[in-house]
Amino acid sequence: MSVFLFKRLLTFLVTLLAASMLTFAALELLPGDPALVILGIDASPDAVAALSREMGFDQPAWLRYARWIGGLLQGEFADSYTYKVPVWELIRDRLIITVPLAVFAMVLTTIFAFLLGIYAASRHNRPGDVLVMGFSQLGIAVPNFWLAILLIVLFAVKLGWFKSGGFPGWDAGFWEALKALLLPAIALATVQGAILARFTRSSLLEVMREDFVRTARAKGLSRRAVLWRHVLRNALIPVVTIMGLQFASLLAGTIVVENVFAIPGLGRLIFQSIGNRDIVVVRDVVLMLAALVVAINFLVDLLYAVIDPRLKAHDI
């Protein structure tokens, strides 16, 4: 187990390092002067040179990278060019919206997927199964931001049950805030739920063909009892891995959906920062989201080892 943990931890750290290098390279080493990117092509050469000096763009790339990472490790973030405050303050205020939104969407994804996946598997090749699979095929094809717009049209414009966007803040009360996140969470969860439902169904069908299931049935257990007691537990092992990847996708998906609903989370911040050419913010927020994704994958690997005893035995 300790070898497994060590290997995963090493992969986690290396991936994080690589993510930071890629982010830095993409935003600062690509052709073009970062100061010019911030100020725009109409800026005077003097203004570009002054900003370059001020933000340290005139220093060697390796030194800038080392300073950036060194600062992050000590909890020191650079100041945003637009907001004139340390980037961490911007991230902190938005994390408390984006992460709950992604968690809420994941909860909905899991509920949709398990209900539909279990129902479809228990009615394999019957009309219910075909219907669920057809629905999930459609769910996968629908862009989440279009679904978000349709939800606004139906529930905000036509029915008036929800506001068409915005977030009142957690201070407005838990249920009020959760209500503002419900439509965005549904938009995010429908696509991921469709994918997970298909995966859950396949995984259940795979396990249903195992010898131990036949033995359990031969022992006299009902189909339902076998499904809940034996099949589900074994089928969930690969499903958990996919769920981890999906949570990462949901976090990334907030970039688009937060913009549809004008929710002031990390996704909206990154988008506004691109518009403001505030690459310091873009760089830190991209790394923050990438780090969250990598950390989730790491946790899923650990969880995988906990729920699959064969993996532990293999690695010890």
Partner: protein, 295 residues
């Protein structure tokens, strides 16, 4: 009369009989539905290159928000532009994004995967770790970062999506190629004195091609989705180039005035993606029937 009716039926049964690719394809409902929708997408793009009912960029303020009619099948938008013409022309953008980004992923990814499989050892390890890393990095983040650095525009969006496709094809072709390298005919080719490069080109590549084609249709669909998202955010196709993603972004500001403006472009994206996904699923089942039994 009965003879006339019997003839098409027997032609159909003759076409779908047997175990050849086309016979299995014609029996496969997903493949047929996906093929039809994908063909429709291609037709829309090709037809709109030569003809559209109206100029998709021509504004007519007297006809703003016109409902669907015989003249304007889907009505007009807030500038009085013909929606059907814009949707038709938008297909060109989707096809372009899909083709170029998949071509980027295919050419670099397959080359890397084949190299990893032929060389093994350190090269394989490096290619695989690169792929692992890319998988850990969400596509939309990568695309946003690229566009933030290079500036918004269709070309940069396509490049970003294409770069993301590279590890997908690298991982897939390496896995498929590794299986081919263990086959006896490869051993025979090696015994005959053929080098790794020649074996890769003459034997490995043709054998992994079906798997790559299936993945290409799926990546094509994902590329259309990703480009639509980037264009919706204003980071992809720029005005006046027609793009389904940007149409949705414009429609959102007008949903209180005309909600249907948000329906058509989204439907076009969803049906294109659905078609390509069904086509990919169908192809996979036809090429490898074992997978279809497992699902």
């Amino acid at each position: 009369m009965s003879m006339q009716q019997a003839q098409p039926a027997s032609l159909l049964s003759r076409l779908t009989r047997g175990n050849g690719f086309w016979a299995r394809a014609l029996r496969h409902r997903s493949f047929l539905a996906g093929g039809f929708l994908s063909l429709l997408l291609v037709l829309m793009a090709v037809v709109s290159a030569f003809w559209t009912p109206y100029d998709p960029t021509k504004m007519n303020f007297r006809l703003r928000f016109a409902p669907p009619s015989a003249e304007h099948w889907l009505g007009t938008d807030h500038f009085g532009r013909d929606l059907f013409s814009i949707i038709l022309t938008g297909a060109q953008n989707s096809i372009l994004v899909g083709v170029v980004s998949v071509a980027i992923g295919l050419s670099f990814g397959v080359a890397l995967g084949l190299l990893a499989s032929a060389r093994r050892g350190m090269t394989e390890e490096l290619v695989m770790r690169f792929s692992d890393f890319a998988f850990a990095f969400p596509a939309i983040l990568l695309a946003v970062m690229f566009v933030a650095a290079l500036g918004p525009g269709s070309a940069n969006a396509i490049l970003a999506i294409g770069v993301y496709n590279i590890p997908v094809f690298a991982r897939l072709s390496r896995g498929a190629a590794n299986a081919v390298w263990t086959r006896e005919y490869i051993l025979a080719a090696r015994t005959a004195g053929k080098g790794r490069l020649r074996i890769t080109i003459e034997h490995v590549l043709p054998n992994i091609l079906p798997v790559i084609i299936v993945q290409a249709t799926i990546q094509f669909a994902l590329a259309i989705l990703a480009e639509a998202a980037l264009s919706y955010l204003g980071l992809g196709a720029q005005p006046p180039a027609p793009s389904w993603g940007r149409m949705l972004s414009e429609a959102q500001t007008l949903i209180y005035k005309d909600p249907m403006l948000a329906v058509y472009p989204g439907l076009a994206i969803a049906l294109s993606v659905l078609g390509l996904n069904l086509l990919g699923d169908g192809l996979r089942d036809i090429i490898d029937p074992r997978l279809s039994r497992r699902r």
